[in-house]
């Protein structure tokens, strides 16, 4: 595996009030590639993903031991708002702000002092999220008037508007219908040209379709990490094979 490493962890352990959720994980996320994190429910996928932009800071009793680096720098040594600006996140359920479509996109840039050309930012972000054509005539209507799939693309557009480096996605399609899921998967393929993407999914077909690298987790440990093709066609570990062939999970 080659390329620039964007995010890396070195033997990290994570705990919720003393209960271990991530065990000794060392993993690299490479630039302009899609890294999928797969594994059965409760294996720590979301925990690991949220630690990349320090969203676990909000969980009382959570602690990390070991280093997580973003572009070579320890994430705890940087300003957390700056980190989150660079490492954006799309959540499991669409969570647009209770505001208009337009305001949903401009709020992020605004709080970081970007006040000019907001119209352009809105158009550009919506185009990147493949939503522009559907909403260009109603930018000032409420975000909740959109369908679930549209809302999730709006959330992607909101993240893209920050001009991030990395986009983290936590099961972004789990609340969506198959058609919306396909659209988002297509979108991920487009987005990876410009962004580094980490996607958590419990859907193995989805991982196989969209990702370049796959990390398979089981009970807090990373069992296997490698190119998606080889993980799916030629897994090295028995556990991975069992999971992929649907023997558990």
């Amino acid at each position: 595996m080659s390329g620039n490493v964007v995010i890396s962890t070195k033997q990290v352990n994570m705990f919720y009030s003393g209960k271990q959720a991530i065990k000794d994980v060392t993993v690299n996320v490479y630039e302009n590639l899609v890294t999928a994190i797969i594994g059965p429910s409760g294996c720590g996928k979301s925990t690991l993903l949220r630690s990349f932009n320090r969203m676990n800071d909000f969980v009382e009793g959570f602690s990390v031991h070991g280093d997580i680096l973003y572009r070579g720098q320890n994430i705890n040594a940087q300003d957390v708002t700056e980190l989150r600006k660079r490492v954006g996140m799309v959540f499991q359920r669409p969570n647009p702000f209770p505001k208009t479509i337009y305001e949903n996109i401009t709020w992020g840039p605004k709080i970081h002092g970007r006040k000019d050309n907001l119209d352009e930012v809105v158009e550009d972000s919506l185009k990147r999220a493949a939503l522009w054509d559907e909403v260009k005539d109603r930018l000032h209507s409420f975000a909740f008037s959109l369908s679930g799939g549209q809302q999730q693309r709006l959330c992607i557009a909101r993240t893209v508007a920050m001009k991030p480096d990395v986009i983290l996605m936590d099961e972004p399609c789990s609340a969506l219908d198959p058609k919306s899921t396909t659209r988002i998967e297509d979108l991920i393929n487009d987005l990876k040209k410009e962004y580094t993407i980490v996607i958590v999914t419990h859907n193995m077909q989805q991982a196989a379709r969209v990702s370049d690298h796959t990390a398979f987790f089981y009970e807090g440990e990373m069992v296997e990490f490698g190119e998606t093709d080889s993980i799916f066609t030629n897994p090295k570990k028995k556990q991975t094979e069992d999971y992929i062939t649907g023997r558990f999970g």
Binding site: T81, R84, G88, P98, W107
Partner: protein, 283 residues
């Protein structure tokens, strides 16, 4: 007797219905009585006349303006302070020891009888700060009285803001104050406004604490500054209702109609805002 589950439930429903209708019927009877007694005296003079020894010449002008003064000042003090305290307690002070202590106190304060606030106002504002029996003393006393209500409803409204919205904002690199002022407060606003209206509606009806801080029942002028003496509608009503003449009782009834109309209207607006807010929050 061996009632089946279904019958038990029917029975329970029926009992609830009886009690509810009891409350509704009493209210209707009450309003009907007041209307019957007061409708004749609901005429323009009621609003254009000051107090008088003669019922025909007496009106609630002083009370109306006194109430307007009092409630405006009360709103001026209690709304900003109440909202700020609510935000502080819910968003910032929750973890600290001081926050815990304040929290317990605020919750208990909401249940303290209003007369106790009157005594506090008398000692603190009327005597110690020497504001006398002025609108200012009354307003500060009522502010203390309704602030716990505003604080509690503000906190409830903030608590009801979905975490997913906050996380979305944080994930864009927002700082806490940006999340609070950009999303939490706007989303919580319908709930906060509802609480404020209900609190002010309560303040309008208060009488006991105002008597204690020295509001007068017989006033023939409109306050011109916060330091002026005053009366309020409920106090005039109380005064009239305790006179022997029949006509004063009718005058009291007609003033009650006015007072009830105002508080019903405020409650109605509160309900309206709340239901509209709920609609907006729904995904």
């Amino acid at each position: 007797m061996n009632l089946s589950k279904k019958n038990q439930e029917k029975m329970f429903k029926f009992i609830c219905l009886i009690f509810t209708s009891f409350a509704v019927i009493s209210l209707v009877v009450l309003i009907w009585h007041i209307l019957r007694d007061g409708y004749e005296w609901l005429r323009p003079e009621l609003f254009t006349e000051f107090q008088s020894r003669f019922p025909r010449k007496a009106g609630i002008k002083a009370g109306v303006f006194g109430t307007i003064w009092l409630i405006s000042l009360t709103a001026f003090f209690s709304i900003p302070l109440g909202i700020a305290s609510g935000i502080y307690l819910e968003e910032y002070g929750k973890k600290g020891k001081i926050g815990k202590i304040i929290e317990v106190n605020v919750t208990n304060l909401a249940g303290v009888p209003s007369i106790v606030y009157g005594l506090l106002g008398l000692a603190l504002f009327v005597r110690l700060l020497d504001f006398g029996g002025s609108v200012l003393s009354g307003a500060l006393t009522l502010s203390l009285l309704i602030m716990p209500i505003i604080i509690v409803t503000t906190r409830e409204a903030i608590k009801a803001v979905p975490h997913s919205i906050k996380y979305a904002a944080y994930s864009l690199g927002a700082r806490k104050y940006q999340v609070v002022f950009g999303h939490v407060l706007p989303t919580a606003m319908p709930g906060i406004v509802t609480g404020i209206i209900l609190a002010l509606a309560r303040a309008i009806g208060e009488t006991a604490p105002l008597i204690i801080v020295g509001a007068l029942a017989y006033v023939t002028f409109i306050p011109e500054s916060p330091m002026d003496e005053f009366t309020v509608m409920p106090l005039q009503i109380y005064n009239w209702a305790s006179r022997p003449q029949e006509d004063f009782h009718k005058l009291a009834a007609s003033s009650i109609v006015v007072l009830l109309t105002i508080t019903f209207f405020m409650n109605f607006v509160a309900v309206l805002i709340r239901s509209r807010g709920q609609k907006r929050m729904k995904l």
